[in-house]
């Protein structure tokens, strides 16, 4: 029986962007249906329309045999559709049980908190995992938060659950646990839509898969009948060519970090005694699931965050006590994982291009020489193929162009050491390939890069040496050739085999 039928769904945004073009999509009851596509293909948009968060420009939706037009998520929730987002919909500053209470009271006015507790316990029994009910959500690890989200969603006994890239915040071991849970849910008769851009996951967990590319449906197949290569070609429109990394011969030491300890925003130790060396012409990868101290480590290396203990030595000079602006002048550059941090979105392209090298554009008495700034901006636009004009506000650029600006601005300074975090997160394949080859070219010029990424494919593609960070410590460090995906996965999950 067809549970979901979406016919001819088109979505055009007010600024003219066409997110979806006449997409047909149907899901049978009781199956796990994968929705595959690269970043920006329209998968999340399509599901948000089904969920009632966004309205489609044209097309109809039939759920459980009836034509529906949901006015909002609570409307679809009452019909039995739930969605587990990448960014969970939990109120972080209240407890788990209060979040459950809040959720259930939208369905049943007058339900008591004891009833909520009872149902939560029941669910935890069924799924065979527990979450601390009294803890505030923001104090829990991300993997636990996802479990809270799943339990929450199940409390309303949905018919259909949509998962949006759920493994992006999990270690390989946690992902396997999640898949086990999904299979249990399937046994209970719940239908699942699984959004992902990872081919392996499609093959592992889904019964059928629909591929979207640039807002259009490419096809729907029984999963066993397609290979990963075929899926890849359909997803991108051509074969994905992995970037070629030449074998490196690292030179002298350019950076040494000794016993670094860094606290996070809440005062807890996020980095606990990290030490490593970085050489000329080398890309050192730091692999790990987000939330294990990478952010604090990167910020401490850049000088944006103060280290509690330890030393950082670059090119023989102790830069531990130097603030960020001074480190940037010494030849260090940092590309943070969030464009809202690395760029000032309300300012224009020209103003953004001088953000981390302001001193180079000043004249007498601290005066900004704008013609120099516009020259630099034009250089970046040209070299990094950015679509945008000098005076246009950066917030109106596409994500890919924003990232090119961010990466380009830092690379054009020709720093000795470049620290880059999640460089291709959320980008489409074309932009991803461009940025990765840019980084490799940079390395070939004899420069050094510290690459922080939760994407293992990216780590293997680009890095000469790989370290794994887990709960603030390096739990393994070795050369690319000597490591395997499985070993990395185990290390990321805290297993020291």
């Amino acid at each position: 029986m067809k549970l979901v039928e979406m016919r001819g769904i088109t979505k055009v945004y007010p600024d003219g962007v066409v997110a979806l073009k006449g997409v047909d999509f149907e899901v049978s009851e009781g199956e796990i249906h994968g929705l595959l596509g690269e970043n920006g293909a329209g998968k999340t948009t399509l599901m948000r329309i089904l969920y009632g968060e966004i309205k489609q420009t044209s097309g109809e939706i039939i759920f459980s045999g009836k034509a529906v037009s949901f006015k909002g998520p609570w409307d679809s929730m009452r019909s039995g559709i739930s969605m587990v987002y990448q960014k969970f919909s939990l109120v972080p500053t209240i407890s788990v049980i209060e979040n459950f209470y809040l959720y259930l009271s939208s369905f049943q006015r007058g339900v008591g908190i004891e009833e909520v507790r009872r149902r939560a316990e029941e669910m935890m029994e069924r799924l065979k995992f527990r979450v601390p009910l009294e803890a505030n959500v923001e104090d829990l690890a991300v993997g636990v938060q996802q479990r809270v989200e799943i339990i929450k969603v199940l409390l309303s006994k949905p018919k259909l659950i949509i998962f949006d890239e759920p493994t992006s915040v999990l270690t390989p071991i946690e992902s396997r646990e999640l898949f086990r849970t999904l299979r249990e849910l399937k046994e209970d008769g719940i239908t699942i839509i699984f959004i992902t851009h990872k081919l392996k996951e499609v093959k592992e967990i889904t019964d059928r898969v629909t591929i979207l590319r640039k807002g259009e449906r490419v096809g729907t197949y029984e999963t066993p009948s397609v290979s990963e290569e075929e899926l890849a070609i359909m997803m991108v429109g051509r074969g994905i060519v992995p970037t070629k990394r030449s074998v490196s011969s690292p030179g002298r030491e350019v950076m040494r970090v000794e016993d670094l300890w860094v606290r996070d925003d809440r005062g807890l130790n996020a980095v606990k005694g990290v030490s490593f060396e970085l050489h000329e012409g080398e890309i050192l990868g730091i692999a790990g699931v987000q939330g294990n101290g990478q952010l604090e480590l990167a910020e401490a290396l850049a000088g944006v965050r103060r280290a509690e203990r330890g030393r950082i030595i670059m090119d023989g000079r102790d830069i531990t006590d130097l603030p960020a602006e001074a480190r940037y002048r010494e030849g260090l550059a940092y590309i943070p994982d969030s464009r809202a941090v690395g760029l000032v979105l309300e300012m224009n392209l020209m103003e953004n291009s001088i953000l981390t090298s302001l001193r180079d554009f000043l004249g007498r008495g601290g005066r900004i020489i704008w013609p120099l700034a516009s020259d630099r901006a034009r250089e970046v636009i040209e070299r990094f193929n950015i679509v945008g004009s000098l005076r246009s506000q950066v917030k109106y650029l596409s994500g890919g162009n924003q990232q090119r600006l961010l990466v380009g601005r830092e690379i054009i300074k020709a720093p000795k050491v470049l620290i880059v975090s999640e460089p291709t997160q959320g980008l489409d394949v074309a932009a991803t390939e461009f940025i990765r080859s840019t980084l490799l070219k940079f390395r070939e010029e004899g420069r050094s890069i510290i690459l922080i990424s939760s994407d293992l494919d990216e780590i293997f593609e680009l890095c000469d040496r790989i370290a794994v960070i887990y709960e603030g410590k390096f739990v393994g460090i070795g050369r690319n050739e000597d490591l395997t995906l499985e070993r990395l996965g185990l290390l990321m999950g805290g297993v020291n085999a």
């Binding site: 944006v304 940037y328 001193r359 005066r367 704008w370």
Partner: protein, 330 residues
């Protein structure tokens, strides 16, 4: 740019409309009142320039910190303090330059204090500013009635001696009060600071995104404090110029000073927080204030009409999406 002109015009038109209706409801001849306001407001350019001067400065006092994300509502108190300090120094030393500098320093110190409390204790600057406003208001009333009053004219303070006053410059039969070009030049200097200097760039980044600022190595806290010091100095300078170039004295009810800080907020917003726009918006609002006073004499409409209009303008300007909604409807 178009959007800005539209927003500003809309807010003025809307507030005038509401003011018009209110006047009619209260039984006044609204058309006559408005024509008096506009005509009288513009009739004397010298007086207009003189009245606009403190407003330009209190507008800057709000707008500069505003660009850094801080709401300097304390412009009122900083204005009083600047006027007081200036008066005392002018009276005791007869030196207008020293008097001006003291006024700026007084205002700047007060706003620095507000900024430090905000940054170090996390206390919202709106509350502390208002507390200081009222404290200084009452302190000033006390000082004027007990120590600083003029024995010959006890309803006002001692006057600024003639040699310390800032006078006029007459060019082609137009008398320009020198305080006006001082204010205009200050505004231009602020424009240059905000858009052409490293300090201004850093402050603007902090105002838009403190996270991006930290990433770039800019310290949000020091930007906040510096912008507040500048803001307070602006307001203090406004009080100074008022005393030295216009009223020469503070009357015992402080009627000449009261409300300048808040009107400055209106002028700052109407000028879209841009120092050059502020010059024009201050002149416009001063026209309303002068016209409002004339309307009181001629048509017996209280001067608080101007407050009502200015308040309405600020309310409308707080909603940037009004213009967008109106556009989408079409």
């Amino acid at each position: 740019m178009r959007k800005i002109v539209l927003e500003v015009s809309l807010s003025i038109i809307l507030s005038f409309l509401i003011g018009y209706i209110m006047l009619i409801l209260m039984g006044y001849d609204a058309t006559r009142v408005f024509s008096i306001v506009i005509r009288e407001g513009l009739s004397n350019p010298t007086y207009l320039m003189m009245r606009s001067t403190p407003l330009i400065l209190t507008a800057l006092a709000f707008s500069i910190p505003s660009s850094v994300g801080v709401f300097n509502i304390g412009g009122e108190g900083q204005f009083y303090l600047g006027a007081l300090a200036s008066l005392i120094i002018a009276y005791t030393t007869g030196n207008s330059l020293l008097s001006t500098i003291t006024g700026m320093a007084a205002g700047g110190l007060l706003s620095a204090l507000i900024a430090v409390i905000k940054v170090k204790r996390g206390v919202n600057e709106v509350v502390t500013s208002i507390m200081f406003n009222w404290m200084i208001y009452f302190s000033l009333l006390y000082l004027i009635s007990t120590y600083l009053f003029d024995p010959l004219m006890p309803y006002q303070s001692v006057s600024v001696p003639k040699n310390a006053r800032i006078e006029y410059l007459t060019i082609q039969s137009v008398s320009i009060p020198m305080i006006f070009p001082i204010a205009v030049l200050t505004s231009l200097a602020m424009y240059f600071l905000m858009y052409h200097s490293a300090l201004g760039y850093r402050m603007r980044v902090v105002g838009i995104s403190p996270k991006a600022a930290r990433y770039a190595g800019f310290d949000p806290e020091s930007s906040i404090i510096i912008s507040m010091i500048i803001g307070g100095a602006m307001s203090g300078l406004g009080g100074s110029l008022l005393i030295l170039g216009h009223t020469h004295t503070i009357d015992s009810t402080m009627s000449g000073l009261y409300g300048m800080g808040f009107a400055g907020i209106g002028a700052g917003l109407l000028g879209r927080n841009n120092p050059i726009g502020i010059i024009f918006s201050s002149i416009f609002l001063s026209m309303l204030l002068i016209g409002g006073e004339a309307a009181e004499l001629r048509a017996r409409v209280p001067t608080e009409l101007a407050d009502t209009l200015i308040g309405m303008i600020v309310i409308v300007l707080s909603a940037p999406y009004i213009v967008r909604i109106l556009r989408v409807r079409r």
